[in-house]
């Protein structure tokens, strides 16, 4: 588990923000909302898989079933 995950999430945030700004300027607001939702979903899936890994480690370490 290393720090690249944080950079990946920060990169997703920045990319989504830039794309939304561009789309807003070219008055396609509906697509920009869709893009921001997609960005959020990707970030959440990454976070959820990490939470899953953490719970596996804890379950195996402390025997909490």
């Amino acid at each position: 588990m290393d720090i690249s995950v944080i950079f990946r999430l920060a990169a997703i945030g920045i990319i989504v923000t830039v794309v939304c700004q561009i789309l807003k300027k070219s008055d396609r607001d509906d697509i920009s909302t869709v893009i921001s939702i997609v960005g959020l979903v990707i970030a959440l899936t990454i976070a959820v898989t990490m939470i899953g890994d953490l719970f596996d480690v804890i379950r195996e370490l402390f025997g909490v079933t």
């Binding site: 588990m1 290393d2 720090i3 995950v5 944080i6 950079f7 999430l9 920060a10 997703i12 945030g13 920045i14 989504v16 923000t17 939304c20 921001s36 960005g39 959020l40 970030a43 959440l44 990454i46 976070a47 990490m50 939470i51 890994d53 953490l54 719970f55 480690v57 804890i58 379950r59 370490l61 402390f62 025997g63 909490v64």
Partner: protein, 133 residues
């Protein structure tokens, strides 16, 4: 890595900086970044903790204590650990009351785990009293 404390501090500050960066435009992503950073910190500490846990369980075996007691004790620590971590995440999402409820449920679960041990002690005391009287 003998004491990974500096690495942990570095990661914590890095996560805070990344979250701050994203908070301006996408506040919900900032919460996700803080969660990811928290998970990385915990995983590093848990890996470091794994070695000492084996030593602790060996000592416990040497003392001849019943292994069920040790396992329940570890379970309690595990539950406390996870509940504390999840409550932190809930606070990040702004759900203070939900976090308190989760902590309350965690306490009850730990109490439920403690009941059998209490039972063991009482039966032990009962046997001792019968021996004396």
């Amino acid at each position: 890595m003998s004491t990974p404390i500096f690495q942990l501090i570095g990661i914590a500050f890095l996560t805070a900086a990344a979250a701050l960066l994203v908070k301006g435009t996408k506040p919900e992503l900032a919460a996700v970044i803080t969660i990811a950073g928290g998970i990385i910190l915990l995983l590093i500490v848990l890996e470091a903790f794994q070695g000492s846990l084996k030593v602790l369980s060996e000592i416990a075996q040497m003392t001849g204590l019943d292994s069920v007691l040790i396992r329940t004790l570890l379970k309690m620590v595990g539950i406390g650990y996870i509940v504390e971590f999840s409550a932190g995440i809930l606070h990040d999402f702004g759900q203070g009351s939900l976090a308190d409820k989760l902590i309350f449920c965690g306490k009850i679960l730990i109490l439920i785990l403690a009941i059998p041990i209490l039972e063991n002690i009482l039966t032990l005391v009962n046997d001792l009293l019968r021996l004396i009287s």
